[in-house]
């Protein structure tokens, strides 16, 4: 690659620019080119201004002052990638708006309908997931409480519930049921935890898709030089 330098200096600069380009993957090609050209210019000007010592130590000093490629590109990475690191509760309404903004417009009215359908479907899935989790917790705790009460007053709720004797000793039998009930509650909590993980995953996938769509839309018009 021609970067205006020669010899080992050119190699060092090339290596730096290659690492820079690697970090720029995923942003539009035109923006990549511009930033690489701009940094090349910076390196050139900085190298020209620094006249102390041999060329290699000059270029190393120049790149050291410029900083690692990560410093040059941090905020240029797609906004979503930057915010992904932060924990942010994204209300589903905003998600829906973004979905329509990015999918609805390029796909036309049909796409808008599909996007809305997708959101409603997802919402229903999420709601039913949490309903199941909460009913498991509720069932588990209530059963456990009933069973504990039955240890102290064995006749409690006898007219309404019929408890199948797993073992002959009634107290031990009750303890088995309490443990079972607590396990059900634990399963509910497990689902809640899984839910939060799943939501994070779903959010990540959506953000990723939006970025792809946005880049595609930016690239769509013929680039003008």
């Amino acid at each position: 690659m021609a970067n205006g330098f020669s010899g080992p200096v050119a190699q060092i600069v090339d290596n730096y620019l290659e690492r820079l380009k690697k970090g720029l993957k995923g942003i539009p090609a035109k923006d990549q080119d511009e930033l690489v050209k701009e940094i090349t210019s910076h390196i050139y000007e900085s190298f020209r201004a620094d006249t102390e010592g041999d060329e290699v130590s000059r270029i190393l000093r120049v790149l050291d002052k410029l900083g690692e490629p990560a410093a040059v590109i941090s905020a240029r990475m797609p906004e979503a990638m930057v915010t992904l690191g932060k924990k942010r509760k994204l209300p589903f309404l905003i998600l829906a708006g973004v979905l329509i903004a990015f999918f609805g417009v390029p796909l036309g009215l049909g796409g808008l309908g599909a996007a809305i359908g997708l959101i409603i479907g997802l919402l229903a899935l999420v709601v039913s997931f949490y309903v199941v989790a909460f009913s498991l917790i509720l069932t588990g705790w209530l059963s456990a409480v009933f069973m504990i009460v039955r240890i102290f007053s064995p006749g409690f709720l006898d007219p309404w519930i019929d408890i199948y004797p797993l073992v002959s000793d009634p107290t031990f039998n009750t303890v088995i049921y309490i443990v079972g009930a607590l396990l059900i509650a634990a399963l509910g909590f497990g689902l809640l935890w899984l839910g939060s993980r799943l939501m994070r995953g779903v959010r990540f996938v959506f953000r990723f898709l939006f970025e792809k769509m946005r880049n595609w839309r930016k690239r769509a018009p013929v680039p003008t030089q």
């Binding site: 701009e38 210019s41 000007e45 020209r48 002052k65 690692e68 410093a71 040059v72 941090s74 905020a75």
Partner: protein, 129 residues
């Protein structure tokens, strides 16, 4: 702590960049030299590019490629009208904030030595910070 320094720097650097551009157009390297003021201030030069990119996206600066008499073309940045307005507002705000900080440094602890005060509760140090 590192994070706080980064945040503070970004904000101040943004203001400094707008300020330098309010006196005329600059390319990246000349901007760095202007801001550092000739001295060797510990400034990672590359950090100005993400900031310039963001300012361009916000419509506060605009850029154009200009042929250089020597070496590769330079990308010059100028303030837009919106950028000039924003700079004036931010600079005024910065002066107020700088006054607050210097006032705070001159400040003294409240004079309550005469009163007899018991410590009620010591706040625990937060883990996430």
């Amino acid at each position: 702590m590192e994070n706080k320094i980064t945040q503070l720097r970004k904000g101040i650097l943004e203001l400094a960049i707008l300020g330098a551009l309010s006196h005329g157009r600059h390319y990246g390297y000349s901007l760095v030299r202007t801001i550092a003021g000739g001295s060797d201030i510990d400034l990672t030069e590359g950090t100005i590019y993400p900031i310039l990119g963001r300012l361009a996206k916000e419509g506060l600066v605009q850029s154009e490629w200009v042929e250089s008499s020597q070496g590769p073309p330079r990308k010059y940045y100028t303030l837009t009208l919106k950028g000039e307005r924003t700079f004036r507002v931010l600079e005024g705000e910065f002066r107020k904030l700088a006054a607050i900080v210097s006032n705070a440094q001159k400040g003294t602890a409240p004079d309550d030595r005469g009163e007899h005060l018991n410590v009620l509760d010591v706040a625990k140090e937060s883990k996430n910070g």
